[in-house]
């Protein structure tokens, strides 16, 4: 764990630091005339993570910071984790700040509802900001039951770019002026080759609707209340893994359903040179249409990920096709390990085609970018 750990060993069980130099390039000037930032930006990001255990009590902390030369909104810090947890037999109690992951899918996680997404760090909503919480869990022989109290709500922070056609207002609005983190519960069970979870969430939806304001020429984030019943399951067979995330509930006094169903297929045909080659196909349906929490409302996602050079290089490719609007989106992510301490990362995203009716993707049409980072972790 490097020198940081050796120095901190008496006080902290683990201490890891990841420092990175970053750069980002937008291929085109933004179509949003009110946003004027350089197409090429450089920056820095850092992450420090520490943990220590006192008997049954464990402390975890993780701080994230980023600075960007061009985009003021990308200069920020976030406490990803500042948590106290304890376990006594089957019962676990935790509180503080943490990031949670619920779900099984690879493209869009419909049931991962607790945390606000950090889209400044990753547009795909997979990176999450820290969330204040308190939880009580009970471990079953093959599963776990948990209840979560989420006392605070964190609004989404948007970067200046990628832009969404208009600048996004810093003035957030809320349905019925409610701004609550919410409550949640989840029961996870597994038996043989099946694993499934049933969950519940009620509170302010993390993904806002962006309402155009004629008066201010801005998009006003509007956070609505949501009540969700959540289900996710994975079933493994000898050659395929089946995955399903399902969400139903009520928003704006209307019921909705959303589903992500897919398969994951491992391939071993190039096993001598390519490791962990997996192909995924997922279909996302969301009857909320434009109110959906992602651009997937009737979309097919096809992706692959694999490693080579003795697992030093990792590649991920994701492509989506929208059956309603024929929009197409693609992203390519790469990581290469230069040494035990150094690695490089790169990502390119592009909207291959998008009709005006597909507002989410159309807004990103001139916002395609490539980013690159050199990481030093110790």
């Amino acid at each position: 764990m490097g020198c940081a750990n050796a120095l901190a060993q008496p006080l902290i069980d683990t201490l890891n630091i990841d420092l990175a130099a970053t750069t980002r390039y937008y291929f085109e000037e933004t179509a949003s005339p009110q946003i004027n930032i350089d197409d090429l930006a450089y920056g820095a990001r850092g992450e420090i993570q520490a943990a220590h255990r006192f008997g049954p009590i464990k402390l975890d902390g993780k701080l994230f910071a980023q600075w960007d030369s061009a985009d003021d909104n990308r200069r920020y810090t976030d406490i990803r984790q500042a948590k106290v947890s304890g376990r006594w037999g089957n019962i676990s109690v935790a509180g503080g700040i943490d990031t949670f992951f619920w779900g099984v899918s690879e493209s869009i996680n419909l049931v991962n509802v607790i945390n606000q997404s950090d889209i400044r760090e990753s547009l795909d909503t997979k990176v999450k900001q820290g969330q204040v919480f308190a939880s009580l869990s009970y471990r079953l022989d093959a599963g776990e039951l948990g209840v979560y109290f989420i006392p605070t709500f964190t609004a989404r922070d948007f970067p200046l770019r990628p832009a969404y056609g208009l600048p996004i207002s810093e003035q957030n609005t809320f349905e019925d002026n409610k701004e609550d983190g919410g409550i949640a519960a989840r029961g996870l069970f597994y038996i043989d080759d099946v694993e499934f979870a049933i969950g519940y969430f009620s509170g302010t939806r993390r993904d806002p609707l962006l309402i155009p304001s004629q008066q201010t020429k801005q998009l006003i984030p509007y956070y609505i209340q949501t009540e969700n019943l959540l289900f996710d399951a994975v079933y493994l067979t000898d050659s395929l893994t089946y995955k399903w995330e399902f969400k139903t509930g009520r928003e704006l006094e209307r019921g909705f359903v959303a589903s992500n169903i897919g398969i994951e297929y491992p391939l071993y045909v190039f096993a001598d040179t390519i490791q962990d080659l997996v192909v995924i196909t997922e279909y996302v349906f969301d009857d909320r249409g434009e109110r959906a929490e992602s651009h997937g409302q009737n979309d097919l996602f096809i992706g692959t990920k694999f490693e080579f050079a003795e697992n030093a290089a990792q590649i991920r490719l994701l492509y989506s096709y929208d059956f309603d609007y024929a929009s197409q989106y693609a992203e390519l992510s790469c990581q290469y390990r230069l040494s035990d301490y150094l690695r490089i990362k790169a990502k390119v995203m592009g909207v291959l085609s998008a009709s005006q009716d597909d507002r989410r993707l159309y807004a990103l049409k001139n916002e395609e970018f490539a980013k690159f980072s050199l990481h030093y972790a110790f």
């Binding site: 683990t14 890891n16 089957n90 080759d193 491992p266 110790f378």
Partner: protein, 274 residues
């Protein structure tokens, strides 16, 4: 359907802990081969649990070295097989990445991978037996709990252990039983394995792995054996050399602890993020 957990773990908990009582061996050499494998199997029963820190060095053909560090915990389970938890501690960017395996005798192993970067526990399949474990010369299959019934056996001969160059000094004057075993699983990456076993203490000091084309693929060797709790012999150093590619992986074990009080809770799916 078992996947990677315990050649690495096996070095600290034993090579095989799912003792099966019924031999299907027929000929004299098959029965003798099975009997020797049974003794190895029984040698390690009763260890309760074990923990070890491990350094894994991956060498390319040109000699370039990559290092991984991991902690391995094993909980003995004579009915279904031992549960194991492998946690990576180095390089720093994968610190906390963990693999939990719950073996199942009559069904597929249950396996979960914990990815700390996104706080995700991912259930994974266990078909990729021949695939490399974290880019090393150990395959997932090599790291699996060995059940006696996973193989058929054949006794070959007995030879002085010192014929194995890496063990010449440590095993001078000792005699090794040499047996071969043939995987039952059609997904195995091997056609057979040839084991050299010290017939005094039942230490496995060399395994030759033959690929599906029956060519020698890899040679496993173990050295620096120490006795723990007056019963369990464990090597300090394990090497897997790929004779076809010239690459090698060396494992060195530190701080092996037995009966440290691990419980089922430490091997629960929800403990992966702890």
């Amino acid at each position: 359907m078992k996947k990677y957990n315990t050649t690495l773990a096996g070095m600290i908990c034993g090579y095989s802990l799912c003792f099966a009582a019924v031999s299907q061996a027929n000929t004299d050499t098959e029965q003798k081969g099975y009997a020797i494998a049974s003794v190895v199997e029984q040698r390690d029963q009763g260890f309760t649990d074990s923990r070890a820190m491990l350094t894994m060095e991956l060498y390319s053909k040109s000699g370039a070295k990559t290092t991984r560090k991991l902690d391995i915990s094993v909980l003995e389970n004579e009915i279904d097989g031992d549960k194991s938890l492998i946690k990576f501690t180095f390089p720093a960017d994968i610190n906390g990445t963990a693999l939990l395996t719950h073996p199942a005798k009559s069904a597929s192993d249950e396996q979960w991978l914990y990815l700390p970067e996104v706080s995700r526990v991912k259930r994974i399949g266990s078909r990729n037996k021949a695939g490399a474990f974290v880019g090393s010369e150990f395959s997932f299959e090599d790291m699996t709990n060995k059940d006696l019934e996973d193989y058929s056996y054949n006794y070959l001969f007995s030879q002085p252990c010192e014929l194995i160059a890496a063990s010449a000094a440590e095993f001078a004057g000792k005699q090794c039983d040499v047996i071969e075993r043939f995987p039952v699983d059609k997904h195995s990456g091997y056609s057979k394995q040839e084991l050299w076993i010290d017939n005094q203490d039942s230490k496995i000091i060399q395994i030759k792995y033959f690929d599906r084309k029956k060519s020698l693929l890899k040679v496993f060797s173990a050295s620096g054996f120490k006795l723990y709790q007056d019963k369990y012999w464990r090597p300090d150093l394990v090497q897997m050399k790929n004779v076809q590619t010239g690459k090698a992986t060396i494992l060195s074990y530190q701080n092996i602890i037995f009966a440290s009080g691990l419980t089922e809770q430490d091997f629960h799916r929800s403990a992966l993020g702890d």
